[in-house]
Protein backbone atom coordinates (compact mmCIF):
# COMPACT_ATOMS: atom_id res chain seq x y z
CA UNK A 1 0.00 0.00 0.00
CA UNK A 2 1.32 3.41 -0.87
CA UNK A 3 2.05 5.69 2.05
CA UNK A 4 1.31 9.01 0.40
CA UNK A 5 -1.20 9.32 -2.38
CA UNK A 6 -2.15 12.42 -4.33
CA UNK A 7 -5.16 11.67 -6.49
CA UNK A 8 -6.45 14.02 -9.20
CA UNK A 9 -5.41 16.82 -6.97
CA UNK A 10 -5.61 20.49 -7.80
CA UNK A 11 -5.27 23.60 -5.75
CA UNK A 12 -6.35 27.12 -6.62
CA UNK A 13 -5.59 30.36 -4.80
CA UNK A 14 -7.93 33.30 -4.49
CA UNK A 15 -6.46 36.75 -4.79
CA UNK A 16 -8.33 40.03 -5.34
CA UNK A 17 -11.45 38.08 -6.15
CA UNK A 18 -9.68 36.14 -8.91
CA UNK A 19 -8.78 32.51 -8.77
CA UNK A 20 -5.33 31.27 -9.80
CA UNK A 21 -4.42 27.65 -10.36
CA UNK A 22 -1.34 26.61 -8.33
CA UNK A 23 -1.42 22.85 -8.85
CA UNK A 24 -3.27 20.85 -11.48
CA UNK A 25 -3.86 17.14 -11.97
CA UNK A 26 -1.35 15.85 -9.50
CA UNK A 27 -1.35 12.05 -9.37
CA UNK A 28 1.49 10.66 -7.34
CA UNK A 29 2.05 7.70 -5.06
CA UNK A 30 4.93 7.40 -2.64
CA UNK A 31 5.55 3.81 -1.55
CA UNK A 32 6.50 2.55 1.86
CA UNK A 33 10.08 3.52 2.74
CA UNK A 34 10.47 5.31 -0.55
CA UNK A 35 12.30 8.65 -0.77
CA UNK A 36 10.67 10.93 -3.33
CA UNK A 37 12.07 14.35 -4.18
CA UNK A 38 10.05 17.02 -5.98
CA UNK A 39 11.98 19.59 -8.03
CA UNK A 40 10.57 22.40 -10.07
CA UNK A 41 10.98 26.06 -10.97
CA UNK A 42 10.21 28.47 -8.16
CA UNK A 43 6.54 29.16 -7.75
CA UNK A 44 5.54 25.83 -9.29
CA UNK A 45 3.67 24.76 -6.18
CA UNK A 46 6.08 22.11 -4.93
CA UNK A 47 5.90 23.43 -1.38
CA UNK A 48 2.11 23.48 -1.69
CA UNK A 49 2.23 19.73 -2.39
CA UNK A 50 4.03 19.20 0.87
CA UNK A 51 1.72 21.49 2.82
CA UNK A 52 -1.28 19.58 1.46
CA UNK A 53 0.21 16.30 2.68
CA UNK A 54 0.96 17.95 6.04
CA UNK A 55 -2.65 19.11 6.36
CA UNK A 56 -1.62 22.76 6.59
CA UNK A 57 -3.60 23.45 3.39
CA UNK A 58 -6.43 21.71 1.67
CA UNK A 59 -6.96 20.73 -1.98
CA UNK A 60 -9.51 22.54 -4.14
CA UNK A 61 -10.37 19.21 -5.70
CA UNK A 62 -9.03 15.67 -5.49
CA UNK A 63 -7.59 14.04 -2.39
CA UNK A 64 -4.38 13.52 -0.47
CA UNK A 65 -4.10 10.49 1.76
CA UNK A 66 -1.36 9.35 4.07
CA UNK A 67 -1.25 5.77 5.30
CA UNK A 68 -4.62 5.15 3.64
CA UNK A 69 -6.32 7.97 5.56
CA UNK A 70 -7.48 11.14 3.86
CA UNK A 71 -5.60 14.12 5.29
CA UNK A 72 -7.92 16.39 7.28
CA UNK A 73 -5.44 18.46 9.28
CA UNK A 74 -1.93 18.39 10.67
CA UNK A 75 -0.81 15.63 13.00
CA UNK A 76 2.28 13.94 14.40
CA UNK A 77 1.93 10.96 12.03
CA UNK A 78 3.26 13.34 9.33
CA UNK A 79 6.31 15.07 10.72
CA UNK A 80 7.45 18.18 8.88
CA UNK A 81 10.98 19.59 8.64
CA UNK A 82 10.83 23.24 7.58
CA UNK A 83 13.39 25.22 5.62
CA UNK A 84 13.68 27.81 8.39
CA UNK A 85 13.91 25.05 11.05
CA UNK A 86 10.98 26.54 13.03
CA UNK A 87 12.48 25.53 16.36
CA UNK A 88 10.91 27.06 19.46
CA UNK A 89 13.52 29.65 20.52
CA UNK A 90 12.46 29.54 24.19
CA UNK A 91 12.85 25.78 24.46
CA UNK A 92 16.11 23.88 24.84
CA UNK A 93 17.21 21.24 22.34
CA UNK A 94 15.76 18.55 24.60
CA UNK A 95 12.45 20.37 25.05
CA UNK A 96 12.14 21.02 21.32
CA UNK A 97 12.56 17.33 20.56
CA UNK A 98 10.11 16.49 23.34
CA UNK A 99 7.32 18.76 22.07
CA UNK A 100 5.69 16.32 19.65
CA UNK A 101 6.13 13.33 21.96
CA UNK A 102 3.98 15.06 24.55
CA UNK A 103 1.14 15.28 22.02
CA UNK A 104 1.34 11.53 21.57
CA UNK A 105 0.62 11.05 25.26
CA UNK A 106 3.78 9.05 26.01
CA UNK A 107 4.98 8.68 29.60
CA UNK A 108 8.01 10.55 30.88
CA UNK A 109 10.31 7.51 30.82
CA UNK A 110 9.38 6.48 27.31
CA UNK A 111 9.91 10.06 26.16
CA UNK A 112 13.32 10.33 27.77
CA UNK A 113 14.65 7.13 26.30
CA UNK A 114 13.40 8.03 22.82
CA UNK A 115 14.86 11.54 23.00
CA UNK A 116 18.20 10.27 24.26
CA UNK A 117 18.39 7.78 21.42
CA UNK A 118 17.51 10.43 18.86
CA UNK A 119 20.03 12.89 20.26
CA UNK A 120 22.73 10.28 19.90
CA UNK A 121 21.66 9.40 16.37
CA UNK A 122 21.84 13.04 15.28
CA UNK A 123 25.14 13.70 17.05
CA UNK A 124 23.62 16.24 19.42
CA UNK A 125 25.14 14.88 22.63
CA UNK A 126 26.27 17.66 24.93
CA UNK A 127 23.76 20.14 23.46
CA UNK A 128 20.67 18.92 25.31
CA UNK A 129 20.29 22.09 27.37
CA UNK A 130 21.43 24.53 24.67
CA UNK A 131 18.94 26.93 23.13
CA UNK A 132 18.50 27.21 19.35
CA UNK A 133 20.13 30.64 19.11
CA UNK A 134 23.30 29.18 20.60
CA UNK A 135 23.60 26.66 17.74
CA UNK A 136 24.83 26.97 14.15
CA UNK A 137 22.34 26.60 11.30
CA UNK A 138 23.44 23.02 10.65
CA UNK A 139 23.02 22.06 14.30
CA UNK A 140 19.60 23.72 14.40
CA UNK A 141 18.50 21.69 11.42
CA UNK A 142 19.76 18.53 13.15
CA UNK A 143 17.49 19.37 16.07
CA UNK A 144 14.57 19.94 13.70
CA UNK A 145 15.21 16.57 12.01
CA UNK A 146 15.50 14.87 15.41
CA UNK A 147 12.22 16.50 16.48
CA UNK A 148 10.55 14.95 13.41
CA UNK A 149 12.25 11.52 13.52
CA UNK A 150 11.62 10.98 17.21
CA UNK A 151 7.87 10.83 16.57
CA UNK A 152 8.32 7.69 14.51
CA UNK A 153 5.99 9.20 11.92
CA UNK A 154 4.29 7.36 9.08
CA UNK A 155 5.89 9.82 6.66
CA UNK A 156 8.51 12.55 6.84
CA UNK A 157 7.82 15.73 4.92
CA UNK A 158 10.87 17.89 4.27
CA UNK A 159 10.46 21.34 2.75
CA UNK A 160 13.82 22.46 1.32
CA UNK A 161 15.38 21.52 4.65
CA UNK A 162 18.91 22.44 3.62
CA UNK A 163 18.04 25.53 1.59
CA UNK A 164 19.08 27.92 4.34
CA UNK A 165 22.44 26.26 5.01
CA UNK A 166 25.83 27.12 3.52
CA UNK A 167 27.21 24.76 0.88
CA UNK A 168 29.54 22.80 3.15
CA UNK A 169 27.05 22.27 5.95
CA UNK A 170 24.55 21.30 3.33
CA UNK A 171 26.79 18.51 2.03
CA UNK A 172 27.36 17.18 5.53
CA UNK A 173 23.63 17.17 6.20
CA UNK A 174 22.89 15.40 2.91
CA UNK A 175 25.33 12.63 3.81
CA UNK A 176 23.83 12.49 7.26
CA UNK A 177 20.36 12.04 5.79
CA UNK A 178 21.58 9.21 3.56
CA UNK A 179 23.19 7.53 6.56
CA UNK A 180 19.97 7.99 8.54
CA UNK A 181 17.93 6.52 5.70
CA UNK A 182 20.14 3.42 5.68
CA UNK A 183 19.94 2.86 9.43
CA UNK A 184 16.32 3.83 9.76
CA UNK A 185 14.50 3.88 6.43
CA UNK A 186 11.44 6.09 6.22
CA UNK A 187 8.89 7.24 3.71
CA UNK A 188 10.04 10.70 2.74
CA UNK A 189 8.61 13.46 0.58
CA UNK A 190 11.42 15.93 -0.01
CA UNK A 191 11.03 19.33 -1.66
CA UNK A 192 14.09 21.01 -3.15
CA UNK A 193 15.20 23.25 -5.97
CA UNK A 194 18.68 21.70 -6.00
CA UNK A 195 18.84 19.02 -8.69
CA UNK A 196 22.04 17.41 -7.41
CA UNK A 197 20.57 17.05 -3.96
CA UNK A 198 17.47 15.40 -5.38
CA UNK A 199 19.44 12.89 -7.45
CA UNK A 200 21.78 12.10 -4.57
CA UNK A 201 19.04 11.55 -1.99
CA UNK A 202 15.94 10.32 -3.77
CA UNK A 203 14.68 7.01 -5.11
CA UNK A 204 12.51 8.91 -7.56
CA UNK A 205 12.65 12.53 -8.65
CA UNK A 206 9.44 14.27 -9.66
CA UNK A 207 9.98 17.18 -12.06
CA UNK A 208 7.23 19.78 -12.09
CA UNK A 209 6.20 22.29 -14.73
CA UNK A 210 6.05 25.96 -14.03
CA UNK A 211 2.82 27.48 -12.77
CA UNK A 212 0.30 25.99 -12.71
CA UNK A 213 2.32 23.06 -11.40
CA UNK A 214 1.78 19.72 -13.06
CA UNK A 215 3.97 16.65 -13.00
CA UNK A 216 6.24 16.88 -16.04
CA UNK A 217 8.17 13.68 -15.56
CA UNK A 218 9.12 11.17 -12.90
CA UNK A 219 12.69 9.90 -13.01
CA UNK A 220 13.62 6.60 -11.45
CA UNK A 221 16.96 7.09 -9.73
CA UNK A 222 16.81 3.97 -7.59
CA UNK A 223 17.27 1.49 -10.42
CA UNK A 224 20.26 3.43 -11.75
CA UNK A 225 21.73 3.62 -8.28
CA UNK A 226 21.30 -0.14 -7.80
CA UNK A 227 22.79 -0.96 -11.20
CA UNK A 228 25.78 1.36 -10.79
CA UNK A 229 26.28 0.54 -7.12
CA UNK A 230 26.33 4.12 -5.78
CA UNK A 231 25.63 2.75 -2.34
CA UNK A 232 29.23 1.55 -2.00
CA UNK A 233 30.43 5.16 -1.87
CA UNK A 234 30.63 6.98 1.41
CA UNK A 235 31.04 10.53 0.17
CA UNK A 236 28.78 12.65 -1.96
CA UNK A 237 31.59 13.78 -4.29
CA UNK A 238 32.38 10.15 -5.19
CA UNK A 239 28.79 9.62 -6.24
CA UNK A 240 28.73 12.92 -8.07
CA UNK A 241 31.72 11.77 -10.12
CA UNK A 242 29.82 8.83 -11.61
CA UNK A 243 28.90 9.13 -15.23
CA UNK A 244 25.41 7.82 -14.54
CA UNK A 245 24.91 10.49 -11.85
CA UNK A 246 26.05 13.24 -14.18
CA UNK A 247 23.77 11.92 -16.88
CA UNK A 248 20.69 11.94 -14.61
CA UNK A 249 21.52 15.36 -13.25
CA UNK A 250 21.95 16.81 -16.72
CA UNK A 251 18.72 15.37 -18.05
CA UNK A 252 16.75 16.79 -15.08
CA UNK A 253 18.49 20.12 -15.57
CA UNK A 254 17.36 20.18 -19.18
CA UNK A 255 13.78 19.49 -18.21
CA UNK A 256 13.86 22.32 -15.69
CA UNK A 257 15.54 24.67 -18.14
CA UNK A 258 12.70 24.11 -20.59
CA UNK A 259 10.27 25.13 -17.88
CA UNK A 260 12.12 28.33 -17.14
CA UNK A 261 11.51 30.15 -20.43
Amino acid sequence: MSKIEFRKLSRRFERDGKSFPALEDIDLEVQEEEFVAIVGPSGCGKTTCLRLAAGLEFPSSGTVSVGGQEVRGPGPDRAVVFQQFALFPWKSVWQNIEFGLKSKGLGAEERSSRIAKQIEMMGLQGYETAFPHQLSGGMQQRVAIARAYVLDPVVLLMDEPFGALDAQTRTVMQEELVRLARVNPRTVLFITHAVEEAVYLADRVVVMTRRPGRIREIIDVKSVRAKEGWDRFEKIEEVMDQESFVHLRTSIWKLLREEQV
Partner: protein, 270 residues
Protein backbone atom coordinates in the same frame (compact mmCIF):
# COMPACT_ATOMS: atom_id res chain seq x y z
CA UNK B 1 26.14 60.63 12.33
CA UNK B 2 27.99 63.77 11.35
CA UNK B 3 24.98 65.13 9.50
CA UNK B 4 22.89 65.05 12.68
CA UNK B 5 25.11 65.96 15.64
CA UNK B 6 21.93 66.19 17.77
CA UNK B 7 21.62 62.43 17.35
CA UNK B 8 25.11 61.62 18.65
CA UNK B 9 25.13 59.41 21.75
CA UNK B 10 25.75 61.29 25.01
CA UNK B 11 28.44 60.12 27.38
CA UNK B 12 27.28 59.05 30.82
CA UNK B 13 28.66 62.21 32.31
CA UNK B 14 26.96 64.47 29.76
CA UNK B 15 23.69 62.65 30.35
CA UNK B 16 23.77 63.16 34.12
CA UNK B 17 24.96 66.76 33.86
CA UNK B 18 22.10 67.61 31.53
CA UNK B 19 19.49 65.72 33.55
CA UNK B 20 20.52 67.40 36.76
CA UNK B 21 20.66 70.81 35.09
CA UNK B 22 17.10 70.30 33.87
CA UNK B 23 15.90 69.53 37.39
CA UNK B 24 17.92 72.40 38.85
CA UNK B 25 16.46 74.82 36.31
CA UNK B 26 12.93 73.65 37.14
CA UNK B 27 13.37 74.10 40.91
CA UNK B 28 15.27 77.36 40.36
CA UNK B 29 12.42 78.81 38.32
CA UNK B 30 9.87 77.57 40.82
CA UNK B 31 11.78 79.11 43.75
CA UNK B 32 12.31 82.37 41.86
CA UNK B 33 8.60 82.79 41.10
CA UNK B 34 7.57 81.79 44.62
CA UNK B 35 10.07 84.23 46.19
CA UNK B 36 9.45 87.11 43.78
CA UNK B 37 6.16 87.88 45.46
CA UNK B 38 4.10 87.96 42.26
CA UNK B 39 2.09 85.08 43.70
CA UNK B 40 0.92 84.68 47.29
CA UNK B 41 2.60 81.75 49.17
CA UNK B 42 -0.67 79.82 49.25
CA UNK B 43 -0.95 80.06 45.46
CA UNK B 44 2.54 78.69 44.89
CA UNK B 45 4.44 77.47 47.96
CA UNK B 46 8.23 77.37 47.81
CA UNK B 47 9.94 73.99 47.24
CA UNK B 48 11.38 73.97 50.80
CA UNK B 49 7.96 74.67 52.29
CA UNK B 50 6.73 71.55 50.49
CA UNK B 51 9.69 69.49 51.70
CA UNK B 52 9.11 70.72 55.23
CA UNK B 53 5.44 69.75 55.00
CA UNK B 54 6.35 66.30 53.65
CA UNK B 55 8.64 65.69 56.62
CA UNK B 56 5.85 66.77 58.93
CA UNK B 57 3.40 64.42 57.28
CA UNK B 58 5.70 61.48 57.94
CA UNK B 59 5.28 61.91 61.68
CA UNK B 60 1.98 63.78 62.18
CA UNK B 61 -1.16 62.01 60.97
CA UNK B 62 -3.21 64.00 58.47
CA UNK B 63 -6.67 62.85 57.38
CA UNK B 64 -6.30 59.99 59.84
CA UNK B 65 -2.88 58.65 58.86
CA UNK B 66 0.73 59.60 58.20
CA UNK B 67 1.80 59.96 54.59
CA UNK B 68 3.52 56.53 54.62
CA UNK B 69 0.34 54.89 55.84
CA UNK B 70 -1.64 56.61 53.10
CA UNK B 71 0.91 55.39 50.57
CA UNK B 72 0.76 51.81 51.81
CA UNK B 73 -3.01 51.87 51.59
CA UNK B 74 -2.81 53.23 48.02
CA UNK B 75 -0.21 50.68 46.95
CA UNK B 76 -2.33 47.85 48.42
CA UNK B 77 -5.37 48.90 46.41
CA UNK B 78 -3.22 49.43 43.37
CA UNK B 79 -1.73 45.94 43.55
CA UNK B 80 -5.19 44.42 43.79
CA UNK B 81 -6.54 46.29 40.79
CA UNK B 82 -3.40 45.84 38.74
CA UNK B 83 -3.11 42.15 39.67
CA UNK B 84 -6.71 41.56 38.65
CA UNK B 85 -6.24 43.43 35.36
CA UNK B 86 -3.15 41.39 34.51
CA UNK B 87 -4.55 38.02 35.53
CA UNK B 88 -7.67 38.54 33.41
CA UNK B 89 -6.16 40.62 30.60
CA UNK B 90 -3.22 38.41 29.63
CA UNK B 91 -5.08 35.07 29.34
CA UNK B 92 -8.02 36.74 27.61
CA UNK B 93 -5.71 38.59 25.20
CA UNK B 94 -3.89 35.39 24.27
CA UNK B 95 -7.16 33.51 23.81
CA UNK B 96 -8.48 36.32 21.59
CA UNK B 97 -5.26 36.12 19.57
CA UNK B 98 -5.91 32.45 18.88
CA UNK B 99 -9.70 32.07 18.64
CA UNK B 100 -10.95 34.30 15.83
CA UNK B 101 -14.55 34.01 17.06
CA UNK B 102 -13.68 35.31 20.50
CA UNK B 103 -11.73 38.14 18.90
CA UNK B 104 -14.73 39.13 16.76
CA UNK B 105 -17.08 38.95 19.74
CA UNK B 106 -15.00 41.05 22.14
CA UNK B 107 -12.91 43.49 20.12
CA UNK B 108 -15.64 45.96 19.02
CA UNK B 109 -16.96 46.25 22.58
CA UNK B 110 -13.50 46.69 24.00
CA UNK B 111 -12.53 49.27 21.38
CA UNK B 112 -15.39 51.48 22.52
CA UNK B 113 -15.11 50.88 26.25
CA UNK B 114 -11.40 51.64 26.44
CA UNK B 115 -12.04 55.28 25.48
CA UNK B 116 -14.10 55.76 28.60
CA UNK B 117 -11.59 57.22 31.08
CA UNK B 118 -11.24 55.23 34.32
CA UNK B 119 -12.51 58.19 36.32
CA UNK B 120 -15.82 58.06 34.44
CA UNK B 121 -16.46 54.73 36.14
CA UNK B 122 -16.36 56.32 39.59
CA UNK B 123 -20.13 56.64 40.12
CA UNK B 124 -20.82 53.05 39.14
CA UNK B 125 -17.73 51.71 40.89
CA UNK B 126 -18.93 53.30 44.11
CA UNK B 127 -22.50 52.19 43.53
CA UNK B 128 -21.67 48.57 42.70
CA UNK B 129 -18.61 47.86 44.80
CA UNK B 130 -18.61 50.53 47.50
CA UNK B 131 -15.98 53.06 48.42
CA UNK B 132 -13.80 50.71 50.50
CA UNK B 133 -11.81 48.18 48.52
CA UNK B 134 -14.07 47.14 45.66
CA UNK B 135 -14.78 50.51 44.04
CA UNK B 136 -11.20 51.76 43.77
CA UNK B 137 -10.07 48.30 42.64
CA UNK B 138 -12.54 48.43 39.77
CA UNK B 139 -11.31 51.86 38.72
CA UNK B 140 -7.67 50.77 38.67
CA UNK B 141 -8.79 47.71 36.78
CA UNK B 142 -10.44 49.80 34.07
CA UNK B 143 -7.20 51.74 33.65
CA UNK B 144 -4.77 48.83 33.72
CA UNK B 145 -6.81 46.21 31.88
CA UNK B 146 -6.82 47.44 28.24
CA UNK B 147 -3.03 47.64 27.74
CA UNK B 148 -2.51 44.27 29.45
CA UNK B 149 -5.06 42.67 27.16
CA UNK B 150 -4.13 44.47 23.96
CA UNK B 151 -0.43 43.68 24.23
CA UNK B 152 -1.03 40.00 24.95
CA UNK B 153 -3.42 39.94 21.99
CA UNK B 154 -0.96 41.63 19.64
CA UNK B 155 1.83 39.38 20.84
CA UNK B 156 -0.28 36.34 20.07
CA UNK B 157 -1.37 37.63 16.66
CA UNK B 158 2.15 38.38 15.51
CA UNK B 159 3.78 35.10 16.48
CA UNK B 160 5.73 33.78 13.50
CA UNK B 161 3.25 31.61 11.59
CA UNK B 162 5.85 28.92 11.02
CA UNK B 163 6.15 28.32 14.77
CA UNK B 164 2.40 27.81 15.00
CA UNK B 165 2.52 25.53 11.97
CA UNK B 166 5.37 23.57 13.53
CA UNK B 167 3.36 23.15 16.73
CA UNK B 168 0.31 22.01 14.78
CA UNK B 169 2.27 19.45 12.77
CA UNK B 170 3.68 18.20 16.07
CA UNK B 171 0.13 17.50 17.19
CA UNK B 172 -0.40 20.36 19.66
CA UNK B 173 -4.02 21.28 20.41
CA UNK B 174 -5.42 24.73 21.18
CA UNK B 175 -4.41 24.68 24.83
CA UNK B 176 -0.79 23.70 24.20
CA UNK B 177 -0.48 26.20 21.38
CA UNK B 178 -1.69 29.02 23.64
CA UNK B 179 0.42 28.06 26.66
CA UNK B 180 3.55 26.71 25.00
CA UNK B 181 3.76 28.82 21.83
CA UNK B 182 1.69 32.00 21.97
CA UNK B 183 2.49 32.85 25.59
CA UNK B 184 6.29 32.48 25.46
CA UNK B 185 6.45 34.11 22.02
CA UNK B 186 4.44 37.07 23.35
CA UNK B 187 6.49 37.67 26.48
CA UNK B 188 8.30 40.77 25.14
CA UNK B 189 5.02 42.31 24.03
CA UNK B 190 3.28 41.35 27.28
CA UNK B 191 6.02 42.90 29.41
CA UNK B 192 5.92 46.09 27.34
CA UNK B 193 2.16 46.11 27.95
CA UNK B 194 2.67 45.65 31.68
CA UNK B 195 4.68 48.86 31.81
CA UNK B 196 1.89 50.84 30.18
CA UNK B 197 -0.71 49.03 32.24
CA UNK B 198 1.13 49.69 35.50
CA UNK B 199 1.44 53.39 34.68
CA UNK B 200 -2.19 53.84 33.70
CA UNK B 201 -3.31 51.85 36.74
CA UNK B 202 -1.33 54.06 39.08
CA UNK B 203 -2.76 57.20 37.45
CA UNK B 204 -6.30 55.86 37.74
CA UNK B 205 -5.82 54.98 41.39
CA UNK B 206 -5.22 58.56 42.38
CA UNK B 207 -8.24 59.67 40.40
CA UNK B 208 -10.30 57.05 42.18
CA UNK B 209 -9.09 58.07 45.61
CA UNK B 210 -9.94 61.69 44.97
CA UNK B 211 -13.54 60.62 45.07
CA UNK B 212 -13.94 57.32 46.87
CA UNK B 213 -11.96 55.72 49.71
CA UNK B 214 -11.14 56.97 53.17
CA UNK B 215 -7.40 56.64 53.08
CA UNK B 216 -4.66 56.79 50.46
CA UNK B 217 -2.63 59.46 48.76
CA UNK B 218 -5.56 60.74 46.70
CA UNK B 219 -7.66 61.03 49.83
CA UNK B 220 -4.85 62.93 51.55
CA UNK B 221 -4.80 65.37 48.66
CA UNK B 222 -8.58 65.91 48.77
CA UNK B 223 -8.35 66.65 52.47
CA UNK B 224 -5.40 68.96 51.83
CA UNK B 225 -7.48 70.82 49.28
CA UNK B 226 -10.43 71.28 51.63
CA UNK B 227 -8.05 72.53 54.35
CA UNK B 228 -6.54 74.94 51.83
CA UNK B 229 -3.13 73.37 52.47
CA UNK B 230 -1.39 73.58 49.10
CA UNK B 231 1.81 72.16 50.56
CA UNK B 232 -0.08 68.97 51.50
CA UNK B 233 -1.48 68.67 47.97
CA UNK B 234 2.00 69.09 46.51
CA UNK B 235 3.43 66.53 48.94
CA UNK B 236 0.87 64.08 47.56
CA UNK B 237 1.81 64.94 43.99
CA UNK B 238 5.47 64.32 44.71
CA UNK B 239 4.72 60.98 46.40
CA UNK B 240 2.69 59.90 43.35
CA UNK B 241 5.49 60.84 40.99
CA UNK B 242 8.17 59.08 43.01
CA UNK B 243 6.19 55.84 43.38
CA UNK B 244 5.32 55.96 39.66
CA UNK B 245 8.98 56.21 38.74
CA UNK B 246 9.86 53.33 41.09
CA UNK B 247 7.19 51.11 39.50
CA UNK B 248 8.43 51.91 36.02
CA UNK B 249 12.07 51.34 36.88
CA UNK B 250 11.26 47.93 38.38
CA UNK B 251 9.30 46.87 35.31
CA UNK B 252 11.96 48.20 32.97
CA UNK B 253 14.53 46.06 34.78
CA UNK B 254 12.28 43.04 34.38
CA UNK B 255 11.89 43.84 30.70
CA UNK B 256 15.58 44.14 29.94
CA UNK B 257 16.37 41.04 31.96
CA UNK B 258 13.86 39.03 29.95
CA UNK B 259 15.15 40.39 26.68
CA UNK B 260 18.79 39.57 27.37
CA UNK B 261 17.87 36.13 28.64
CA UNK B 262 15.83 35.27 25.56
CA UNK B 263 18.03 36.60 22.81
CA UNK B 264 21.47 36.30 24.28
CA UNK B 265 24.02 38.87 23.24
CA UNK B 266 25.08 38.87 19.60
CA UNK B 267 23.21 35.68 18.86
CA UNK B 268 22.46 34.39 15.40
CA UNK B 269 18.70 34.10 15.77
CA UNK B 270 17.81 31.59 13.07
Amino acid sequence: MAAYPQQAALSRREFWTLSLSGLAAFFGLWSAIALSGITPPLFLPTPWAVVERMMELTTQPFAGYTIQEHLISSVGRYLMGFGLAVSVGIPLGLAMGWFRGLDAAITPLLEAVRFVAPIAWVPFAALWFGTGIGGPTLIIFTGAFPPALINAYRGARFVEPRLIEAARTLGAGNWRIIVEVLLPASVPSIVAGLRISAGLGWQSLIGAELIVASSGIGYLMVKGQSNISTTTVMSGMIAIGVVGVVIDVLLRRLQSRIETKRLGKGSAQD
